[in-house]
Symmetry: C2
Subunit: 236 residues, 2 copies
Amino acid sequence: MSQRSYGQFCPVAMAAEVLCTRWTVVLLREMVAGSTRFNDLRRGVPRMSPALLVQRLRDLEDAGVVRRVAGRDSGVMEYHLTPAGRELETMVEAMGHWGQRWVTSELTLQQLDASLLMWDMRRKLDLKPLPRRRSVIQFLYAEQTPVDRSWWLIVDPDARGAGAPVDLCSVEPGFDVDLYVASDLRTMTAIWMGLDTVRAAVDSGRLLLTGDADLAANMQAWLGLSPFAKTRKLAS
Amino acid sequence: MSQRSYGQFCPVAMAAEVLCTRWTVVLLREMVAGSTRFNDLRRGVPRMSPALLVQRLRDLEDAGVVRRVAGRDSGVMEYHLTPAGRELETMVEAMGHWGQRWVTSELTLQQLDASLLMWDMRRKLDLKPLPRRRSVIQFLYAEQTPVDRSWWLIVDPDARGAGAPVDLCSVEPGFDVDLYVASDLRTMTAIWMGLDTVRAAVDSGRLLLTGDADLAANMQAWLGLSPFAKTRKLAS
DNA sequence: CAGTATCCGATGCGATACTG
DNA sequence: CAGTATCGCATCGGATACTG
């Protein structure tokens, strides 16, 4: 048995050998959420070095959790979960629910990351409450460093060929902005996590919406929330 | 944020910070299984050093997962799961099921450990199919080193005050033996994990039962199996 | 029984720069 | 875009011995 093995036949230990190494579960969460390409995965684990990311992907490939394949169109490499990998969804969800319930908001909201928040929001944005035309929403976090201060979500329900229906930019995309969303990052993160609401934040002045009145009125609806937002928090 | 933190507000990452450190999940599995005292926990994680064990227990205490209390009788220190800790059972089970399904038997059965197997068996032994009198069953793993070669399970359904209904000894307890169970450790482990059966092992000569005929005939019934034994294996 | 104390070695992993 | 390559340190944790 390898040096780092637990030396236990117990299935829990066998699974832990594969899963309980640094970054692995966080990476899996990003894969479960749907990212398949190297640089998309990087956006989900921005503080992980590329070298370590590729090492973990190889480890998971060896463990039968991930398969590396040439993308159907474009031929670009993609990382897909195998059936074994897809069955880890249960465990990733169990961990997320537990984290939402038992890790204090105080601790959680010390770990702010604008790029990660926007990347997650982009994925969960709900198109249904949005107009059929293209909408551009700019997020402003005034207290952040320049690189994290401004973000644009471009929603285009009609975009067929050209990528996803929601694009995320951190540089001016050149379109007119329909709605400006200004707040501090902590407030926006708390809303995303279900610890706060758009209404409460607006009323207390922590969130300022400027522009299209319909978009503003609908924000709680089109703003998708974290998959764990509905889990009731129990920690103090 | 600490050096080792993931720096993510995502609940999965927050939970992973607590749980995905070396030995932690394996230790939790032993706690979920019911062990509370330091040396009982050690038997469940025999290859973990006592220093690291106590460190992990402190870490889990800080995370609100474990509470260290003086035992009701005896005043001996005990480690109990808090409500937050008990809710980790779902995740530990999810990992165990996944391990049983997707880690190959070949890999699993390379990690044999007689003391761990006997310790787990002791806990799961089913008293109902056993006689009402005291029964002593000796396990013999001829190929193992002297210290791992002989084990006694002493089942005493009437033992009220004196500890558990099933005692495990690795030294001759001085009682007459009712049943001798001789096999290689791999076979016994495979049976425990649901990858083999008493019948098949006896028929093929890998398991030899000597002594009380009723005890022998009932073995598959009184021998409790791993909590994951019924999970169907899918890995090649 | 329930831990402490100490030491030291491997290695995990972070940082950074580079490439086809 | 999708990775490689290299370096070097911190630290994790394994081993062992000891104690109230």
